[in-house]
Structures are given as C-alpha cells and as structure tokens.
C-alpha cells in the first residue's frame, strides 16, 4: 500500500516535471506570437463613437472593426506614415467616383465575414453609416467635414453594392470613410441589442464588439488591459493573410519610467508614449529600435486670445512672436525631437507653398519685439498669465519658464498657471485664457480643413478666437476647389494672412517616438497617432 502510494507520488512528480519542461518552449513560442503594447492611457470603450472615448479606444477599434476603405502608406524621410492621398479598399473590393464627383459606388468583398461568421452585406454598411450620421455620437461631427450628413445619402443597390451621394464634390468624403468612426457593424447583432431609447445600440456596443476586424476582443478591463485574439478568417491585410500576431495585449502602465524599463527589458514589445528624455537614452543605448516620426498632422502652439486686450492688438501678438526663445524651448521641452515651425526665411516675403502647417519666418529678436510693443502703445510692457495643463507638464513646464524669462526682458510680466486638464479645457472652451500653450491634431490634414476648424468660428478649437471674415471665406471656398493650382494659391494666401495677423504662434510638430523591440517590423505612423496592431509583425 505504502509502496503504491509512493510510486504514484513519484509519477505525479515526474509528470509535473515533464509538464514544466514541455510548457517552457510553448510559452516562449506564444510569447513570440504575442504583441505586448504598453501605454500610459487606457481603453475606455469598445465603440470609439462614444463621447469621451480615448485615443487608445480609437486604435483598438481599428483592429476590431473594418471600414469601407483605409489609408495607404508612404515613406516620409525613410519612415512609414499614413498616406491621405491613397485610399485603398478594406471591406470594399473596389470603388468608383462618378465623373461629376457626386456619387461614390462601393463594391463589397464577397468573402468578407463578420467575426460571428455571417457575411458582410450592403445592409450592414448602410446601417452602420446611418448610425454614424444620425445617432448622437462622435462620428456625426467628423463625417460632417466630408459632406456626409444624412442617412438618405447611403443607398443599397444590391447585397454587395452601396452608393454614397454627395451634395457637392467633396475631396474629404472618401478619406472620412477611412477614419475611426464610420466602422462597419454587424447590423443584425447590434439591432438585437437596440432598445426604444437607444435604437443604435450605443450602450451595448460600448462593451461588446460586433465587427469584421482582424482581432476579437477576449477580455476587456477598462483602465487596465485588453486582450485580443486574432481572427483567423480575416484577410483584409496587405497580403490577404490574417494579422501577424496571434494575440495582442494592450496594457495600461501609468508610470513612464516603468514603461521605459519594460520595453528595455524586452517584456513589452512596443510603446509610443515615453518621455523624451527616456527615448533619448534608449536610443543612445542602441539595443532597441526607435522610430521617430514628426507628427505631421499635429501642431503645438503658443496661443493668444485675439479678442482679449492686450492680445487684440496685432502688434502685441507680433511682439510675442519675436520674443519667444524658440531654440531653447525646443531643446528644453522636446530635446529637439520634432520638426520646428519657426525660423524660416521667406526670400520674397511670401510663403513658399500653400500647405499648412508651415514654417513661419519668426525667430528670437528682442529688438524687433520691443519695436512692436512700442507700436502697440505698450512700450513699458504689461502683465499676463501663461497657462498649460497638468497632463502636458513634462514638456510645458520647462517651456513656460523660458517664456517667462524671455518676455520679462521686454517688460512683459508673466505668471505661470498650471491647470488640471478638465479645468484647462473648460477655460479654453469659454475663451477665458489670455495666453497659453496647447496642441491640435487633425485626422485629415489638408490646408482648408486646418483653417476652417482651427481659425474660424466661436468654438473650442479656435484657440486664438480669431474672427477674420476674409480668412474664413477663403478657407470655405478652398474646401470645394477642384483645381489643384487654385487650391495651392488659396493656401498661400491663407498662410500669408496667418503670418501677417499672427493669431497664434506655431512652435513645432512633436515627434511620435515609437520605441520597440528590434524584432518588430512594419510600424507605421497612423492618423490616430497610435499603433495599428495590424501593421506590425515580428522577424
């Protein structure tokens, strides 16, 4: 008896040992097929359309849902970035734009299936696009910028064909359909969860997915982590294959130093939100791959409230533009990681081209600044506050100190004000801040879009509160300008006005520093400024 039990104990031990040995390589195997992405932010909803959704939620939805079309990619200074001008099919096999530019017809892929196995039909597409323009969700405001405003514009021709009608030929209609919001939802499933109060199933889709994307959500813990599993049937990638990684782990790690440690030790595969100082030291060590892309659809500003004295005086704004210590700020805030939007030389005094953002011919010149102050009738200077939000303090804090020091030299006394993020956005929205730094980003970075959204109207994104009818009219007209040369001309005019009126000072475009294990390939800078998990693979 005793002998038997002894034997079984040894065999248990032996089996355990065998199991241990057996699990080690398979664990390593699964690690190689897993992408672990760490971030300081977190995913808070599975439907990016929900107001308040985070950038991480945007990125997640790119992998869990498909759209009709997607942006292509191009190389910019040797780095892959998204290409606004190449629109490729995702769920659409092909699309045709009618000669008058008023009708876009999409032919759907025959083999496209939702994650539950049912085919993707034109009815699903119509329901999803209808939802985007009718339901009280974020997609509405976005699609508006592409002249997509009503459910009547989407028509089902046959189960695999859908037609979009536009009131005017709008360049941004097609690109808008490739953005985060107009994702294609499995209408049959979503409708089952719709209620009388919530006909578009927004409550249910916030916590569940019903898409045709490359990855299936396995577990979703808001504020902590999301686990994704590959959908083996998905074939909308570049080579008609499923996505590379079998599993993706999206994990929130609030402390930036910890994120840097994780990626350096090889426990995390890729991270895009490290502190500039950490990126620099990791790059210097040379063990990891660091891909720095200027965020060419984002800009950091020093903004002035054009409606509030003394900044309502153009000469005061010009004085500020010549009194900022650009180079020092660039080094202190970003360690020089970005592309500057100052220090250009315009030989004939005119902008070199019509694209926005552009480099302005401003530099630190205190004598010139003093002259402008004199011209504004304020030779003695004045007092003001300079605000920034807590969330940006790692870059804005050193910047603010340099602004204060430099403006002090021309008699402008600056008090630095550090505001919690919610307070800062409230005050910006209410136009109460005289002088502050903020950043913007545009998903569809075309010149007219920037000027229309960030330089017109009494709305939050018009940081400088500029109200110039001429500028607004030119930007509005440029939107529907089909002729490339004329569009370029309008852009030049707008840029010249920007320099002349100096509503706010463009500082730079910060880099997106993606730090990844050396085995990771295919990273592309996307319009939503996060990692698209479908892009990357491991060598």
């Amino acid at each position: 008896m005793r002998f038997v039990s002894f034997g079984s104990a040894t065999s248990v031990l032996a089996t355990t040992a065998l199991l241990l040995i057996a699990t080690v390589p398979s664990h390593a195997q699964s690690r190689a097929e897993t992408l672990r992405y760490v971030t300081g932010a977190s995913v808070n909803t599975l439907d990016p359309n929900i107001p308040g959704s985070t950038r991480e939620s945007f990125a997640l939805s790119m992998s869990t849902y498909d759209r009709l079309v997607a942006f292509g990619r191009k190389q910019l200074n040797g780095k892959w970035v998204f290409d606004l001008d190449t629109i490729t099919g995702e769920l659409a096999e092909s699309y045709d734009v009618s000669p008058d530019g008023l009708k876009i017809t999409f032919r759907l892929r025959k083999d496209a299936k939702f994650q539950d196995g049912s085919p993707v039909t034109a009815e699903d597409v119509k329901w999803s696009l209808d939802r985007c323009v009718t339901a009280p969700i974020l997609g509405k405001a976005q699609l508006l910028t592409g002249s997509l405003t009503s459910a009547d514009q989407f028509k089902v021709i046959d189960p695999l064909t859908i037609e979009v009608t536009l009131p005017k030929p709008d360049k941004l209609a097609l690109p808008n359909l490739a953005t985060v919001y107009p994702m294609i939802i499995n209408a049959k499933v979503a409708k089952e969860h719709a209620t009388a109060d919530d006909p578009w199933a927004t409550a249910w889709l916030k916590e569940h997915t019903a898409g045709s994307g490359a990855y299936v959500v396995e577990t979703f813990k808001p504020g902590e982590q999301v686990l994704l599993k590959r959908d083996e049937a998905w074939n909308r990638g570049s080579a008609n294959k499923p996505a590379f990684f079998k599993r993706v782990i999206i994990q929130s790690v609030p402390e930036p130093a910890t994120r840097a440690n994780l990626v350096e030790r090889g426990d995390a595969d890729i991270v895009v939100d490290l502190q500039a100082s950490d990126v620099q030291s990791l790059e210097a060590k040379g063990k990891l791959k660091v891909i720095s892309t200027p965020q060419y659809n984002a800009i950091t500003f020093v903004s002035m409230n054009n409606q509030m004295p003394p900044f309502d005086n153009v000469n005061v704004r010009r004085a500020i533009a010549y009194a900022l210590p650009y180079d020092d700020m660039f080094k202190a805030a970003l360690f020089g990681r970005g592309s500057p939007l100052y220090g250009a030389t315009w030989t004939d005094g005119k902008p070199a081209n019509g694209t926005y953002p552009f480099q302005q011919p401003v530099k630190l010149d205190l004598d010139k600044a003093r002259e402008y102050l004199k011209a504004a009738g304020l030779p003695e200077g004045f007092s003001t506050t300079f605000s920034f939000n807590v969330g940006q303090s790692s870059t804005a804090e050193p910047m603010a100190a340099l602004v204060k020091e430099s403006l002090g030299k021309i008699g402008i006394k600056v008090d630095i004000q550090k505001l919690p993020d919610a307070q800062m956005s409230t005050q910006i929205n209410e136009k109460k801040l005289p002088f502050y730094t903020e950043g913007i980003v545009a998903w569809l970075p075309s010149t007219d879009y920037f000027y229309r959204n960030f330089y017109t109207g009494n709305q939050r994104w018009n940081y400088s509160s500029i109200n110039n009818p001429d500028l607004a009219a030119i930007a509005q007209e440029a939107r529907f300008e089909p002729d490339k040369a004329k569009y370029e001309e309008a852009g030049r005019k707008l840029n010249a006005m920007h320099f002349d009126l100096m509503p706010q000072v463009m500082l730079w475009q910060p880099n997106q520093d993606a730090v990844m294990a050396s085995s990771i390939e295919g990273y592309t800078y996307e319009f939503h400024r996060q990692v698209d998990y479908r892009d990357v693979s491991r060598k």
Partner: protein, 335 residues
Amino acid sequence: MRAGRRLLSSLPALFGVLVFTFLLMRVLPGDPAVFFASGPNAGKEEIEQIRKQMGLDKSVPEQLVFYLSDIGRGNLGRSMMTGQPVLKDLRERLPASLELTFTALLIALIAAVPLGVMAALRPGSVVDHGVRLFCALGVCVPTFVSGLLLIYVFYYLLGLAPDPTGRIDVFTSLPPQRTGFLSIDFLLAGDVDGWWAACKQLILPAVSMALFVIAPLARITRASMLVSLGSDFVRTARSVGLSWRKVVVTYALRNAILPVITIAGIVFSTMLGANVLVEKVFSWPGVASYALDALLSSDYAPVQGFVLLMASLFVLVNLVVDICYGIADPRVSIG
C-alpha cells in the same frame, strides 16, 4: 449590539461626507463635459449631450436629490473615464488596494514592533540610534522614490522581480474570483504557481509602502514600551524574578500595545487612500489611482463614490480597532 449602535451613530457623519463631497466637486472649476468631449471634432452639441448624460443640465439641488436617491438604491453613478458603473469599478479595484494595504501593514508591523521593542530595551544605545536612522530614512524617502528604486534594483538590474505591471503577470490566467484577493483566490483554486506569481507581484509595492509606515509604528512602540518598562508592575515582575520573556512580552508589551493598535488603524486608513503613488508606479489597479485619475478629469461620480467608500471604511476600521482594544486589554470595552 453596541457595535451595531456605533455603526448607526456614524450614519449622520457619512451623510455629511456625502453632501460635502458632492458640493465640493461642483464648486471646483472645470467642466467634465468639455473635457470628455475632446474628440477632434467635438463641438457645442457634443458638450451639451455629455452634460445631459451626466445630469449636469439640471440645477445643483436637483442633482443632489437625484444623486441621493440613486445612492439609496445602491447606484453610485457611472464613470465617464472607464465607461463602467462606479460600483463595479470600485468592487473590482477595492480588493486590489486592500490586498496591497494589508500586506504592507503586516510587513510594517512585523518589522516595526520588534524594532520598537529593541530600541526601548536599550534607549540611547547603538541599536536605538540605528532604529531611529532607519525610521528617519523611511519617512524621508517618498514612496514613489523607494518604489522606483526597488524596481530599478530588483526588476531592471537583477531581474529577480517580475515586471511591475499590476497584480499578475499578463500571461498567467486568473483564478475564479471568490474573495477578490488574488493570493487567497489562487490558494482556493489550488494553483500554487499562480499564488507564487501573485505574491511576487505583491512584494515590491507592499515593501515600498511598508517602508513609509514603519517609522510611526516603530516610534510609537518604542515610546509606549519605555513608559511600560518604567512602570511599577514591570519593576515588581522583575523583582520577583520572572523570566525576561515573560516580563517583556507578556507584561510590558501587552500593556504597551494599545497605542500601537490605534496608530495602526489610522495608518491603515491613510495608506488605503494615500497609496496612490505606489499604485501609479506599480500600475496597481487600486482605488486610489482610480480616484486621482477621476479627479484630474473632473469625473464626479467616481470621486464621490471613492470618498464615500473611504469614509465607510474609516468607520469600519475604527470599529475593528475598538474591538482589538478589548482583546488586548480586557479592561476596555466598546462604548
């Protein structure tokens, strides 16, 4: 019976805390609707919509009435940040915080009481000065610095500790949830590897929290031991020739332990709310970091829920401390 009455008598205080936090959140500048409507194209319409969704379009007294009636029905509201009901968030995160705090307190007590006793037995000696220096260091170094240092040494340099990302290695599967305390759940599920993995994650954050609270505990033990050792009954006990152990542990320490229990109770409550830095550094999914994130984004419901939770816990902890008094010193009864 008495305990029940005590709980009842704390209800007005809880209600006061509730109303006060509610009003405080509304008085603070910062409009959550504007903050959460920050998609690249969010305009006035979106802001209004969020305001409505959060009930901010109503007057403050009306909001308060709605809030109180919701609380009465056990509904703490919904967090904008995580998109989940606050009650669910807190229920998921509280065990994480409690597990960490209990472990830290246990480590602190195990270290602090002997240190305090040793220091009290030989006041002015090298041991006493050593303990004083150790305590001073523990208090001077902020928890996030000690946390980062521990990570740097044990994770980054030595590779002994697992990566400091939350309660469990992402590749380990979780046990069925029973208590919410991972170390207990793993044991209940009979998963020893999982238990060890959870403990490894717990050690560093618990130690960095414990370092900070060893000082008050050790100092109070020392002071109260000094009084106790100098008292008549200890002199009597010594003079009748009782063993060292009996004198120090049974008579002196038992009489000296009351203030230590009081301080431990206060330390526990403080740690639970104030360990936000440790939670941040170790990505620990606890309630304190949750409340801080909510506060920064003016997300009212989670902050209010957190304060209510902390107030209730404080009441409970005080009750437990009183019960402990009774056990440590039968002369004391809960009154």
